[in-house]
């Protein structure tokens, strides 16, 4: 339908853009991960896999990576637990309020990430809303210290931030679910609960997988929430990468860790893509 020249003209700029500003830097990073830093703080261009070895040898690196995955797993679980019922309610039972409620879920996404993170800081801090309230109600005598600067604070904040990302794909699949399938199920004698578990939930699995992937990948790579609210025990792998590229000035090691994360995320994406395909029937 379109001429070859037109197609080339349309596709070439974005392709160039991606090649120049994404693939090329990645390639450079990949090279960096095999180099090293000399005592005089210069990059030594000698090829070896020492950096990857360090990642496995030095416990703080792999432990932080594992902790990050554990935090991301919890964020994913909570986002799904909150996002799924919300999406289900909106899609099936919200009636005329559907659009309004949908906007209410989406609007927080427009608020700056920093504002939302700081909001949690004022809520969870030792002089924060939460502790003041608890002490005022005589439930606690001293401010609860674990509320802020802890993995708990990070999980809570990330769940708040990434629940809409889990919600959206689930909501989209539920909206596309043919309603006559639900009617057919009722017609064949299935109660609403049976209909949910035997028809609605299985058919919404692609949305759940997509939502889980979003929540996991985004929270795994997050560094602002742990920086602002995590404290020493809530540090995540991205914070280490940031400091390696910054104050520590060890770009090669930072690049190696980044690449391990990239590999992790890409294999996760491939896996979730397969899972989605297996469960999609349209």
């Amino acid at each position: 339908m379109f001429s070859r020249a037109y197609k080339t003209a349309v596709t070439l700029p974005p392709l160039l853009w991606v090649a120049l500003f994404l693939l090329l830097p990645y390639l450079l990073m990949f090279c960096y991960s095999f180099w090293s830093v000399s005592a005089s703080q210069t990059i030594v261009h000698s090829w070896n896999v020492d950096n990857y070895g360090q990642l496995l040898r030095v416990s703080v690196y792999w432990q932080t990576l594992l902790r990050s995955m554990w935090i991301a797993a919890r964020v994913t679980t909570f986002s799904l637990v909150l996002g799924y019922p919300l999406a289900y309610f909106l899609s099936f039972h919200a009636g005329k309020k559907k659009d309004l409620l949908y906007q209410m879920v989406i609007i927080p996404l427009w608020v700056s990430y920093l504002v939302r993170a700081y909001a949690w800081k004022t809520i969870l801090g030792s002089d924060g809303v939460m502790n003041t309230l608890l002490q005022y109600a005589h439930l606690t005598k001293h401010p609860l210290e674990f509320l802020l600067y802890s993995p708990f604070a990070v999980v809570l904040t990330l769940t708040h931030i990434y629940t809409p990302f889990a919600f959206l794909p689930i909501y989209a699949t539920l909206e596309h679910l043919p309603r006559n399938l639900v009617e057919a199920s009722h017609d064949l004698g299935a109660t609403p609960a049976q209909t949910f578990w035997k028809v609605i939930f299985p058919l919404s699995i692609p949305g759940v997988v997509a939502g889980a992937t979003f929540a996991f990948v985004l929270s795994l790579g997050d560094f602002l929430a742990p920086l602002l609210l995590g404290g020493p025990s809530g540090i995540m792998i991205s914070n280490i990468v940031v400091s390696l590229f910054g104050a520590a000035y060890n770009w090669p090691l930072g690049a190696a860790i980044s690449f391990c994360m990239l590999l992790l995320v890409v294999s996760l994406l491939v896996f979730s893509e397969r899972l989605e395909k297996k469960w999609s029937f349209s």
Binding site: L181, E183, A184, H186, L188, S282
Partner: protein, 357 residues
């Protein structure tokens, strides 16, 4: 008037004064209808006539704004759809895409928690009945439209409902397959002996399959009768025109005689005043000889249009006073001027069908 076929048998489903409106939009108005045990009833109507809404009220997907639906001694319209002993074959089949053919058919039995061995044997039997045993392990997306249709039917019948609802189940099939399925569906219905309510907009389909036809127009029942009766003795102008072709003659009755332009015939027992008559094209014949047959009404006119239909030909004849008659003739006529005649008994008086909003 001969008693309608269904009324001889016990009524299984009784629809009483059912109405439905969505806001200000009235979809159904005062519908009362009985479905007999083992009857094949067709709800026939154009799109927007409310036929699907009526079916959905019986199935339980829609609640009536007024009126009652009874099945035996049970008030059906107060039950949720999953407690009604009614099953539906949906317009686009609504097969569960994540389940195999076999699992689809067994769905109703599984949610009813029947023993596994019973489920297996009944599913196998149902698949056998619709000749789909070979595709038992396939997913619905891997089988053709006609096959999906059979599975939808098996999935509903395996639960042994007392009443099966079919919402335009053949509309998605091509013409040949559709005719074949009409025959199969009808013989299946006789075999299982379950009452069917079949919704369609296709009058031919309704004629071929039904014991009785309920003709719906703008949310009101126009006529409920056997195919023969509804065709032979249509009650209203709409019924006469919707089912088959007809000529509508506007006449005037005066002291036992009908006058309609140049035509006139005796009509004993009709009250004086304006009257509307339906005259089927096949009941008018092209008279060859000059002499009139006794008791027949005669007219003379010019042939203005011919449409060849294979076994018959439809010709439009314009008479002297501007009256146009459509006539169905066997074979074909080459004449430009024809002499027509029909029996007064074939001119059926019908009620006007006023416009409804």
């Amino acid at each position: 008037m001969s008693a309608a076929d269904g009324e001889d048998r016990a009524a299984l489903l009784r629809i009483r004064s059912v109405a439905k409106h969505f806001g200000k939009n009235v979809v159904l108005r005062d519908i009362s209808l009985d479905v007999a045990e083992g009857e094949f009833l067709t709800i026939l109507g154009e799109s927007g006539s409310g036929k699907t809404t009526l079916l959905r009220i019986v199935a339980g997907f829609e609640s009536a704004s007024a009126g009652e639906v009874w099945m035996g001694e049970e008030r059906l319209d107060r039950q949720p759809p999953y407690r009604r002993r009614v099953n539906t074959v949906f317009q686009h089949y609504a097969l569960f895409p994540h389940l195999t053919v076999e699992q689809n058919v067994g769905y109703g039995l599984r949610v009813a928690k029947r023993p596994t061995t019973e489920i297996e044997s009944r599913v196998a039997e149902a698949l056998e009945k619709v000749k789909m045993s070979a595709q038992a392990k396939s997913k619905p997306s891997k089988i053709s439209g006609g096959q999906q249709q059979r599975i939808a039917l098996a999935r509903a019948l395996v639960n042994r409902p007392r009443l099966l609802l079919l919402d335009e189940p053949l509309s998605a099939l091509d013409a040949n397959l559709r005719r074949q399925m009409q025959v199969e569906l009808k013989s299946l219905q006789r075999e299982v002996g379950i009452s069917f309510i079949f919704v369609t907009h296709d009058q031919e389909e309704a004629m071929v399959m039904s014991d009785r036809i309920a003709l719906l127009r703008s949310g009101e029942l126009e006529q409920v009768a056997t195919p023969r009766e509804i065709y032979g003795r249509p009650a209203t102008a709409y019924a006469a025109q919707f089912i088959g072709h007809t000529n509508l003659l506007k006449g005037e009755v005066r002291s036992g005689n009908v006058r309609c332009g140049l035509l006139a015939w005796p009509a004993a027992g009709l009250p004086d005043g304006p009257a509307l008559f339906s005259l089927r094209p096949e009941n008018i014949r092209v008279a060859g000889a000059a002499t009139a047959t006794a008791g027949m009404v005669r007219a003379r006119g010019k042939v203005v249009h011919r449409a060849y239909h294979g076994a018959t030909e439809l010709i439009r004849v314009e008479c002297a006073d501007g009256l146009v008659l459509v006539v169905r003739t066997p074979g074909s006529t080459s004449l430009d001027e024809v002499e027509l005649e029909f029996s007064p008994a074939d001119a059926i008086q019908v009620r006007e069908s006023p416009e409804r909003i």
